[in-house]
């Protein structure tokens, strides 16, 4: 079967932002998202995830390329300055194009 091309948006950030990000994504109209608990280190120091204020999540969502760029710009405008956050896009191929 032919596959459709979509963008995968990946956001790695403080777990404190989880519910706000999910609300944002829903407002942008994504069809779903997946979250993983992770840990890491970056410009804002070590985040071992050993207690509440230290937790990091990795949130991914598959969507059309234009929406992916809108989401990334939104993140940059609202969260990049004040929070530990990394976001990037990559290319994926999916089966049911209408699902994303």
């Amino acid at each position: 079967m032919t596959l459709a091309h979509r963008k995968l948006v990946t956001i790695i950030t403080e777990s404190a932002l989880e519910s706000m990000l999910v609300k944002d994504l829903e407002n942008f109209g994504v069809t779903g998202y997946t979250i993983t608990n992770v840990r890491g280190e970056g410009a804002r120091g070590k985040r071992k995830g050993d207690w509440d204020q230290n937790r990091t999540i990795c949130l991914i969502t598959i969507c059309r390329s234009d929406l992916a760029h809108v989401i990334l710009d939104h993140l940059a405008a609202v969260y990049f300055e004040d929070y530990a956050i990394v976001a990037y896009l990559s290319d994926v191929e999916v089966h049911r194009g209408n699902k994303f």
Binding site: E14, A16, K48, D50, W51, D52, R55, D82
Partner: protein
């Protein structure tokens, strides 16, 4: 008395935890064990308070609650003033740190209770209510101060109140209180072995992990500057003194005054940071976490509590 406090297993556990962190041991509690223990401790604290409340005279608690609310307003204002004037912190950081010192640490509360029990000092049965009451006002005040004159739109108070009142720590304490209050002493007997029999052991284990976590915060000192270190030691002494006065004025016993002084002196590291991160994003977590968790928390556990007890004794000896 100081040494005696240090030899309590709960305090020794904290010490070996701090040592583990400083020595860079790979010991670390799995995060869900940490969370599980904190759920257990918060609910147990509430439950015990609720059961005791169910046997207390209802009117008694009124004046101390008022005094506690007053503390919840005065302490963050004092802290904010010190941080702005002497510490030269900007508004969001000063407000966020002040909120932490105005709020409370439930673990510090548990440690002071275990301290009083060990030395055989009685206290009012409703002190858990004061713990709950003191948790919130300072957080709201801190947000208010941070947002005053800030360009960033209005505060979403609905979301924030929800966040704070229905946040994990307050919800567990209040649930425990309600369950304990309504089921009462007799019905709770069958759950006592878990919630009361194991309490001190679980607290010891939890403090081992808190020692590890707190000691990791110490590297934050590099960024915080000397003033904040001073503040994190001086502020609990100031709030402890204010708490002692409030306890005395509102008619609390020597034990109750010690508890209120310790509550006042303790700094929040669960509810306050969670609220500040969302409501005051411009405040740097390194500042408030290093101060509250890296310095004030160990200070209170290791030497603060006997000091507040001494303050209360002194106050009662002259004022009582």
């Amino acid at each position: 008395m100081m040494l005696d406090n240090l030899l309590d297993p709960v305090v020794l556990c904290f010490v070996v935890g701090v040592a583990a962190g400083l020595l860079k041991s790979d010991l670390q509690f799995p995060e869900q064990l940490y969370e599980g223990l904190s759920i257990y401790l918060l609910f147990s604290i509430g439950l015990k308070g609720g059961i005791e409340l169910s046997r207390a005279a209802p009117g008694e608690v009124f004046v101390p609650v008022l005094a506690t609310v007053a503390l919840g307003v005065i302490i963050p204002l004092v802290a904010y003033f010190l941080l702005r004037r002497l510490g030269r912190f900007d508004r969001p950081n000063a407000a966020a740190i002040a909120a932490h010192y105005g709020s409370v640490s439930a673990v510090t509360y548990a440690v002071v209770i275990s301290y009083l029990v060990r030395i055989g000092q009685s206290y009012e049965s409703y002190v858990t209510v004061l713990l709950v009451v003191l948790e919130i006002p300072a957080i709201a005040l801190g947000i208010l101060i941070a947002r005053l004159g800030s360009a960033t739109g209005g505060v979403k108070w609905g979301a924030l109140l929800h966040e704070v009142f229905l946040g994990k720590s307050v919800y567990l304490l209040v649930s425990g209180l309600l369950v304990g209050y309504f089921s009462g002493f007799d019905r709770s007997e069958a759950v006592a072995p878990l919630f009361f029999g194991l309490f001190k052991g679980a607290l010891a284990l939890f403090l081992l992990e808190m020692g590890i976590i707190a000691s990791r915060r110490i590297e934050g000192l590099r960024y915080t500057g000397f003033f904040l270190v001073m503040f994190a030691v001086a502020m609990p002494l100031i709030s402890g003194a204010l708490g002692t006065v409030a306890g005395l004025l509102s008619g609390l016993s020597l034990g109750g005054t010690t508890v209120l002084a310790t509550l006042a002196a303790s700094a929040s590291y669960i509810a306050a940071p969670a609220a500040m991160r969302i409501a005051v994003p411009k405040a740097n977590p390194t500042f408030y976490l290093t101060a509250a968790l890296g310095i004030t928390f160990p200070f209170n556990i290791l030497v603060g509590i006997p000091i507040y007890h001494a303050m209360a004794r002194f106050a009662h000896s002259i004022g009582g």
